[in-house]
Amino acid sequence: MLEAIVFYTLATFILGFGVMVVTTKNPVHCVLFLVANFLCVAMIYVLLAAEFLAVIQILVYAGGIVVLYLFVVMLVNLRRPPDAQIDTRRQARVGFVLAALLLAEISAILMYSAVHPSSVATIAPQVASGGNTETVGMLLYTDYLVPFEVASMLLLVAMVGAIVLARREA
């Protein structure tokens, strides 16, 4: 039941953010919706008991690839008119409201776990046993060692290629 609620919520967010990525006019907003989409997909991985994949998703996609996209969007988007009409005071108010909501949420979680210590204790042994990360690591370095090395070569070639392509012609 709980899994169903989480799944349908996440699915709604994933598809909604996906549609926003495809339909939004401003490329910067597109990139930000893409981050939200990737974070929701990471939560789907947690639901599928693929915790290591979820961490990789956040580190590599939301942390690395999207920042790369953001850099290129900002380098390329030179002809956008300056945002003179943006109300900074309204933005500040929205920022304060969001920060207050986040603080309230964290406080609620802390108070809940202080009142119900059992809900925290039941999760801990699962995490401590190594679990998913150990399994994936063993597979990656035994059965799939050759593909792993090929992937590292691919990344090296891509890195060199990207540097050569983006370099200003000397």
Binding site: E3, A11, L15, G18, L48, V136, A166
Partner: protein, 102 residues
């Protein structure tokens, strides 16, 4: 309410893939086309994770990690090409990218 089966995840992944495909076909900004390709790669990863969960075999997650590595390489090279192209032609519209067309 129905229990969540792997088919739910497959349907979700198919929908996300379709959204990415629409983005690739419809948008004319090449950066957003690349982002749509990332959406499609993510849909494939959801499929792999769902099957890995269903079959109790972590190999699917290993392949998903390879896909992430390939996506990172693709993003680096693709964005490098976009930067080089933008420096020459001052545009990111794919309709203007027809120098190599016969």
């Amino acid at each position: 309410m129905m229990p969540i089966t792997p088919y739910h995840y497959l349907v979700l992944a198919a929908a996300l893939f379709a959204i990415g495909l629409v983005g690739v076909m419809v948008r004319r900004n090449i950066i957003i086309v690349l982002m749509s390709i990332e959406l499609m790669l993510n849909a494939v990863n959801i499929n792999l994770a769902a099957f890995s969960y269903q079959l109790h075999d972590a190999a699917g997650q290993v392949f998903a990690i390879f896909i992430v590595a390939v996506a990172a390489a693709e993003a680096a090279v693709g964005l490098g090409i976009i930067l080089a192209f933008f420096r020459n032609k001052e545009t990111v519209n794919i309709d203007d990218m027809n120098i190599m067309r016969w």
